[in-house]
Amino acid sequence: MALKWFKKKKDEQEAAASTEPKPDNVPEALNAEDHPGDEALEQNNGTASENKENEPAPPPDPTEPDPDPEVPAKSGGFFKRLKSGLSKTRKLLSTDINDLFAGNRKIDDELLEDLEELLITSDIGVQTTQDLIETISKKSSKISGPDELKAVLKEKILELLSLEPPTPREITDTPRVIMVIGVNGVGKTTTIGKLAARAASSGKKVILVAADTFRAAAIEQLDIWSQRAGVDIIKHKENSDPAAVSYDGIEAAVARDADMVLVDTAGRIHTKVNLMEELKKIKRTISKKLPGAPHEVLLILDATTGQNALSQAKLFNDAIEVTGIALTKLDGTAKGGIVVSICSTLEIPLKYIGVGEKIEDLQEFDPIQFVEALF
C-alpha cells in the first residue's frame, strides 16, 4: 500500500526537490536556513574568540611539515618525491613483472593469467584488465622479456590516462572558484588545506569556504587549515545551509579581490539523491553569484577505493559535472588503478595526486611521469 504510494510520489518529489532541495540529514528547525542573509558572517581574523580552544598552539603534528612549506623544486625534487611516494606501488608491480619472466618464460596462457592477477589486484578493473591482456596477447610474438612487456603496458595505460594532452590552464577569471566534492573520508578538507597552502605561498590571496556544515567539527578542521596556510575562511554555524555559506564566501571573495576560492563540501555517499540535490543547489548558488563559477569541480577519490570509485565518479559527474579528479592516499600500498578506467570511460582528467601527508605531497598529475613511476 504505502509502497505504491511512494512510487507515485516519486516524480513529484523529484520536481519538488529540484526547486527546494534540502538535505535529509540536516536536522529540522534550522533558523539559519530560513534567514541565510541574517547569518552573521564570521571570519577568521574577525571573531577569533570562538576558536580559542584551537588557537593557542598549533597542534604538535609530527606528520605535518613546518608551517611555511616551500613550493617543491620543479625538477629533481618533484620527481623524486613522486617516485618515493609511489615506490611501494612501483616496487610491487615492477618486481612482479620481472618475476613473471623468471626462468625464461614465454608469453603463454599461464603467464597471462599471472599478469591478470597483477592487474586486477591493482584495482584497474576487470574490463580494463581484459582489454590490456588482449592487447598483449596480440603482440605476444614481439614481447620476449619484462622490459618489452612493461613498455607495452605503459604505452597502453598512458593512452587510457591521457585522452587529451593536458593543456596548461589559463587563469583569467578571478576569483577562481574551486568546488571540492567526494564521498565521506576521502580527504577533501586535507586536500583543500594543501591546495590553499600552495597557492598562498606563491603569493595568491585564497579564501576557504566551510560548506561542510553537517559533520561534527568539520568547520573547526577547515579553520585550523586556514590558520596553518594563513588564509581567510568564511564560515557559518554548524547545520546551517551550505549554499548560503557558499554565497557569502563568493561575495566576500569578490569584495576582497581574492584570487582563489576553495569550497569545502560535506562528504556524501553518491547514491543519496537528496544529498546530490544539495550539491546541485550549492553549485547553482555559486554560479548565480558569480557567473562562470565554479571554474572547477574537483572530485576527490581515495586510492584505496576499488571498483566503486567508478560509480562515485559517474554519479557525481551526472549530478554536477566534474572537471577534474584528485586521487589521494597513494602513499599506502593501494595502487589506485581504477583511475585508469575513470579517465578513459568518463573522460575526466586526473589533476592531482596525493602521495603523502606533507603539503608538498599534493602533486599536479602528469600522466607520463605517473606511468614512468608506476613501472
Binding site: D24, N54, P60, S122, R215, E220, Q221, I224, K335
Partner: protein
C-alpha cells in the same frame, strides 16, 4: 548494499536453474560469470580463485549431479560457501574482563572510526552499558572536537583529551576517569594511519599494552578495493585485532572487501555501518548477509527490527481497533513513526524476499522526509478531525495545510491514501482474514 553483486549472481542462477540437467560445461560457464561478478565487487583475486575452485569441486560432485533440481543445488552450494566465507555466524563484541573494559578502534584515515565510535556508544547504551568516549587522535585537525560534539549530541561522556597529551597517556588517564565516574566501557578512537607507517603502528601497540583492550576493531571502508587484504593483514599482524567494522555500506558498494578480509585474516566482521545517523550500525550476520547477496531476502532482520520498536501493548490495541474498523489518522501516524524507527525504507525493502529483484522497486528512492510531512499534517489536525476524517472539508484542509507548511494537494493525497487503507482493512475484516497488519498495516 550488495545490490549489484546480487543482481549479477541472480542472473547467473536463473540461467543455471533453467537447465533440467547440468553438464560440466554449464557449471563452468556459470562459475566463470560468478567469478567476474565477485572480482567486480572487489573481492580479492586470491579469495575468488579459491572460492570458485571450492564450489566447482562440490558442484561437479554427486551432490549436484544426482539431484533432481541441479540448478537449485548449485545455488545452495554457493550460499553455503558464501556464508562460510563471511564467517559462519554472528560474532559479538568482546566485553569480558575487569571493568572498565576498553575497545580500540583502529584503521586508515577516513575509514570512519570517529563516527563508528559514536555509533558504538549508542549500541552499547542500548545494551545497558555506560560507554565513555576517548578521543586519542591528536594529529588530525579538529578530530577531538568531532568526537566531543558527537558525545554532546548523544549525552555520552567524553574524555577531555588535549593536543599536548600523548595518546597512550590519554588512554591511561581516561581509564582512571572512567572508573571514577562509573563508566564501564571505554571506546578509544585512535588516529587514522597508514598500515605501513611503522611509527604510528607502534603507537597502537603501545596503547594496546597500556590499556589491554577487550576488543580491537578495525574500521574498514566497504568501498575498499583489492588493498583491503593488505590493510587488514598489517593491522592484524601488529595488533591481533578482534574483529572488523565495515563502514559506509549504505552506498552502492558491493562490499567485496568484507569477503576478502574475513577469508584472509580469519577475523570476523562484527558490525556494518549503514547510514549517516548515529543509530545506523548493525551487527553483522553472515548467514543473513549471504542470503541478502543472493537476493533471498532477510526476513529475520526485519522481524528483529520490528520487535525492537513495536510496543506490544500498543500492537494489541491496534489489532482490536483494526478488527472494529476503527483505524484513525492517529493510528496511521503512530504506525508511520514505528516504521521509521526501523530504519530507512529502501533498506527494509531490500530485506523482503523477492522485493530486491522487482524492477519497479529498483530505482525507488523513498524520501524519508515524506514521513515528516505526513506527521506534520496529521499533527496539524484537531483531535476530532483525526478521528473523523470525513469532517475535513475545503476550509479545514486549507487551515491544515497552512499549519503544517504543506499544500492542500498534500492533504488530499494523504487523505486519499488513508481512505484506501481503511477500505482495505474493511475488506480484510469482511473476508475474515485474521491478524493482518499486526505490526504494520500500512504495508
Amino acid at each position: 548494499m550488495f545490490n549489484n553483486l546480487s543482481d549479477r549472481l541472480n542472473a547467473v542462477f536463473k540461467k543455471l536453474k533453467g537447465h533440467g540437467k547440468l553438464t560440466e560445461k554449464n557449471i563452468e560457464e556459470g562459475l566463470k560469470e560468478v567469478r567476474m561478478a565477485l572480482l567486480e565487487a572487489d573481492v580479492h583475486y586470491k579469495v575468488v580463485k579459491k572460492f570458485i575452485s571450492d564450489i566447482k569441486e562440490r558442484a561437479l560432485g554427486q551432490e549436484v549431479m544426482a539431484s533432481l533440481t541441479p540448478g537449485q543445488q548449485v545455488v545452495k552450494i554457493v550460499n553455503d560457501e558464501l556464508t562460510e566465507l563471511m564467517g559462519g555466524r554472528l560474532e559479538d563484541l568482546n566485553l569480558s574482563g575487569p571493568v572498565p573494559v576498553s575497545i580500540m578502534l583502529v584503521g586508515l584515515q577516513g575509514s570512519g572510526k570517529t563516527t563508528t565510535a559514536g555509533k558504538l556508544a549508542v549500541f552499547l547504551r542500548k545494551k545497558g552499558k555506560k560507554p565513555y568516549l576517548v578521543p586519542a587522535d591528536v594529529y588530525r585537525p579538529a578530530a577531538i572536537d568531532q568526537l566531543s560534539k558527537l558525545g554532546q549530541q548523544l549525552s555520552v561522556p567524553v574524555f577531555p583529551s588535549s593536543l599536548e597529551m600523548d595518546p597512550v597517556q590519554i588512554c591511561q588517564e581516561a581509564r582512571t576517569t572512567a572508573h571514577r565516574t562509573g563508566c564501564d566501557t571505554l571506546l578509544i578512537d585512535t588516529a587514522g594511519r597508514l598500515h605501513i607507517d611503522e611509527a604510528l603502528m607502534d603507537e597502537l601497540s603501545r596503547i594496546k599494552d597500556a590499556v589491554k583492550p577487550a576488543d580491537i576493531l578495525l574500521v574498514a571502508d566497504a568501498m575498499t578495493g583489492q588493498d583491503a587484504v593488505n590493510i587488514a593483514q598489517s593491522f592484524n599482524k601488529t595488533l591481533d585485532i578482534g574483529g572488523v567494522v565495515l563502514s559506509k555500506m549504505d552506498g552502492d558498494a558491493r562490499g567485496g572487501a568484507a569477503l576478502s578480509i574475513k577469508s584472509i585474516t580469519d577475523k570476523p566482521i562484527k558490525f556494518v555501518g549503514v547510514g549517516e545517523k548515529l543509530s545506523d550500525l548493525e551487527p553483522f550476520h553472515p548467514d543473513r548477509m549471504a542470503s541478502r547477496i543472493l537476493g533471498m531476502g532477510d526476513v529475520l532482520t526485519i522481524i528483529e527490527k520490528a520487535q525492537s520498536v513495536v510496543d506490544e501493548k500498543k500492537a494489541a490495541e491496534l489489532e482490536k481497533k483494526l478488527r472494529k474498523n476503527e483505524f484513525t489518522l492517529e493510528d496511521f501516524r503512530d504506525q508511520m513513526v514505528q516504521i521509521r524507527k526501523m530504519g530507512s525504507m529502501s533498506e527494509l525493502i531490500n530485506m523482503i524476499p523477492g522485493m530486491g529483484q522487482m524492477k519497479q522497486l529498483k530505482n525507488l528512492e523513498v524520501d524519508e522526509k515524506e514521513f515528516v510531512k505526513i506527521e506534520a499534517i496529521i499533527n496539524s489536525m484537531t483531535p476530532l478531525e483525526r478521528r473523523q476524517y470525513t469532517l475535513i472539508k475545503g476550509s479545514r484542509r486549507k487551515r491544515i495545510a497552512k499549519g503544517s507548511g504543506t499544500s492542500v494537494q498534500d492533504i488530499n493525497k494523504l487523505l486519499k491514501n488513508y481512505t484506501q487503507v481503511i477500505k482495505m482493512i474493511k475488506k480484510v475484516n469482511k473476508g475474515g482474514m485474521r491478524g493482518l497488519g499486526m505490526g504494520m498495516p500500512s504495508f
